[in-house]
Structures are given as structure tokens and as C-alpha cells.
Symmetry: C2
Subunit: 207 residues, 2 copies
């Protein structure tokens, strides 16, 4: 829907490279060639070089990339070099699972608020976060939370997005397998779990 | 880790095109240009044409693609033109949410079995599926289930994958934010929820 100089696909792949680099750095790897990084991630080496060239390119021919330095640089490009407070709306099974998900901190995310409509859930604590009434969503701006995760039932996804946008949220990760309409200044990524599964059969019959 | 003529990235994008086409077809759209499809999906038009060219290309210059025909063709390429019985291991919050997820059928997936280690859960029904003991995993081959979803705690992910591979599973969707090692003939996709969230901040500050 939007055109920028850097394609969405490049931004997506940068996050893939970052995950790989974080893993390799943890294993003590200090340098890596675009070829080895590509092998590790299952992408093309030229693609890595091309994507990084949007931002100036960081490798040394024949030597490769310094793992730690490139990690920092990609974090900076993706604006992940500071902590992002994030809200979650919909504390059902999926919402509870996301609240308990152990992988957010490594990217600098802090799930700082959770909301639901169910009076039985409001006031309860999940992972040290007290569940609030969705009518409190309007407090997000004051609390400087401009990132949100939607884990409500599909029928409630659009109205939840509308409320989040009204509350000043600029980025939404939507888990409902449906199309959400928001103003242009707001970025929505819809994570359709079934679509990810849909990539597997291709490989299963090929091997 | 593996090299094929068709890059993993192309397979991934085909699933993105498919989701868009399924949505557009539902809205009654019969034809679409690569430009309009690209706009709708937030990708580059040349990328769509290039990806489809691996399989012969299906559009007519100046006219575009027939939505229904292209949908069928991509389903065939991705081996989604038949039903895939799928097992799920780990019926915690995330597993329960995945079992209840409404988006699988459109891609031809049938979640046909669910497993857990918790005696309190075994025998219970979730969405018409009776939860079985993980010791039953070995029955998957006989039941012709060769696709599986792992929603167990991170520490149990590798041993679950090992058991699934032993049971003849050829494709695994892993929700644990960790690296899983499997034989080459098995394809694993790790869906790291935090990594998807990590794509948002880039856009939020840019707008």
C-alpha cells in the first residue's frame, strides 16, 4: 500500500538477519561471510549484500561482517536500539501465550500493558502485568506506548485497531487472520499463522 | 542450510501472494495486474513477476493475472491442492490458541491430532480433538500425518522435534524461539513472534 525507498521485504529480511546474528553472536562467532550467514538462514548471499547496500553496506570483501558490529547496525536501522513499550489487547489463550513468550526482550520490547473486555479477567495479573479494561486504552498516549499487539477474536479486530489508532498507536501486530484498515501513518503487520504453515508442504514432497 | 533452484524466499512470497489472492477472490476480483497485487501486498511488482517466472509465469502483459487461476496455480506449486493432516504437540495457551485458530482450512490444513505430557490434559477434548499422550506420537506414520506444529516450552522443543522426526514427520512449524536441529530431509520453519514485532519500529519513526 505504501512505497518507500527501502522495500518492506528488505525490512523483513533485516529482521531475519538480525535473529541469525543474535544467535551466532551468542555462540561466540565474531566474523561471518555473507555466504555463511546466507547458508545459516537459508537465503541468497547476494540478497544479504543487496539489502545491506541500502544502508551503505558494512562488510569487508573476503573477510565478511563483524557479527557484533553488524548486529548493532541492523538494530539501529530497525530502530531497535532503544526499548519499545508495547501493549497487548485480548488476553485469551493466544494473548496469554504472547505475554509469556520469552523472546521479546532480546529485541528491546517491553510488554507493559494488557487489556481485555472480560470483567473476570480485568484486575488479574498475568506475568506481572495487571489486565486493564479496554476503556483504558486511551491512556496509552500518556504512557508513551505506541506499539500494540492484537490478540482478540477476529470479529473484534477492526474495532480494536480503531481504538488503538485513536489512542495514538503507530504500529500494530495483528494476529487475527483478517485484513485491518488503518490510516496511512499507522503500520499494521498481520501474522497469519496458517500462512506460515502453508510454506511447509512444498518442501515435504520435494525431499 | 539447503540450496534448491527455487529460493526459500520465493516459496515464502508465494504464500504471501496466495493469501492476497484468496482475499481478493473472496471480494469478487477476477483480474489483477502484478502492479495492483504488489500494491495490495506491499511488495515490488517485479518481484512477483520474477517469482512466478520460476514456474513459467502466468500473466498476460497489459491484462494481468486471472485471480482464480493464479490462486489454483500457486496452490498447486505449494502442494496445497490437497488436504494435509497436521499434528500439534503442546496444548498450553499457545497450543490451544493454534487449535482454535480459524485460518487453517482455507489452505487445506486439517489439525487432526493433539498431544501433551500433562495427565490432566490427556483425554480432554479441544475443538473436537482428543488430547493424546505424547507416547502416542509414534502412531503418526500409520495415521498418515507428516506435518506437525510444536507449541511446547522452549526447553522441550528439541526433544519434541526428535520424536516427531522418528515418527516420520517431514515438516515442522516451531513456535519456540530457539534453533532446532533436524535431518536434512525434514523442513523446519521457526516462527519467532518477537521477530515479527521487530519489523514495526522501523515504520513508526519514519512516519
Amino acid at each position: 500500500m505504501r512505497y518507500r525507498r527501502v522495500p518492506d521485504e528488505t525490512v523483513r529480511r533485516l529482521s531475519v538477519y538480525l535473529r541469525g546474528l543474535l544467535f551466532l553472536a551468542k555462540q561466540g562467532r565474531q566474523n561471518i561471510s555473507s555466504r555463511d550467514l546466507a547458508d545459516f538462514l537459508g537465503v541468497n548471499p547476494w540478497q544479504i549484500r543487496k539489502d545491506l547496500s541500502y544502508f551503505g553496506g558494512f562488510g569487508t570483501p573476503g573477510v565478511g561482517y563483524k557479527t557484533e558490529k553488524l548486529t548493532k547496525q541492523i538494530k539501529k536501522i530497525l530502530k531497535l536500539d532503544s526499548v519499545h513499550k508495547t501493549a497487548l489487547v485480548g488476553v485469551g489463550n493466544l494473548g496469554s501465550a504472547v505475554l509469556a513468550y520469552p523472546g521479546f526482550r532480546i529485541y528491546g520490547f517491553n510488554i507493559a500493558a494488557a487489556f481485555d473486555t472480560d470483567p473476570k479477567k480485568i484486575g488479574r495479573k498475568v506475568k506481572n502485568i495487571t489486565i486493564e479494561d479496554v476503556s483504558n486504552l486511551q491512556t496509552l498516549k500518556r504512557r508513551k506506548i505506541n506499539l500494540a499487539i492484537i490478540t482478540v477474536p477476529r470479529d473484534a479486530a477492526q474495532q480494536t485497531a480503531d481504538a488503538l489508532v485513536k489512542a495514538g498507536v503507530k504500529g500494530i501486530l495483528n494476529f487475527s487472520p483478517c485484513h485491518i484498515t488503518v490510516p496511512k501513518k499507522v503500520k499494521v503487520i498481520t501474522l497469519d499463522i496458517a500462512r506460515v504453515l502453508a510454506r511447509l508442504p512444498y518442501y515435504m514432497s520435494a525431499s
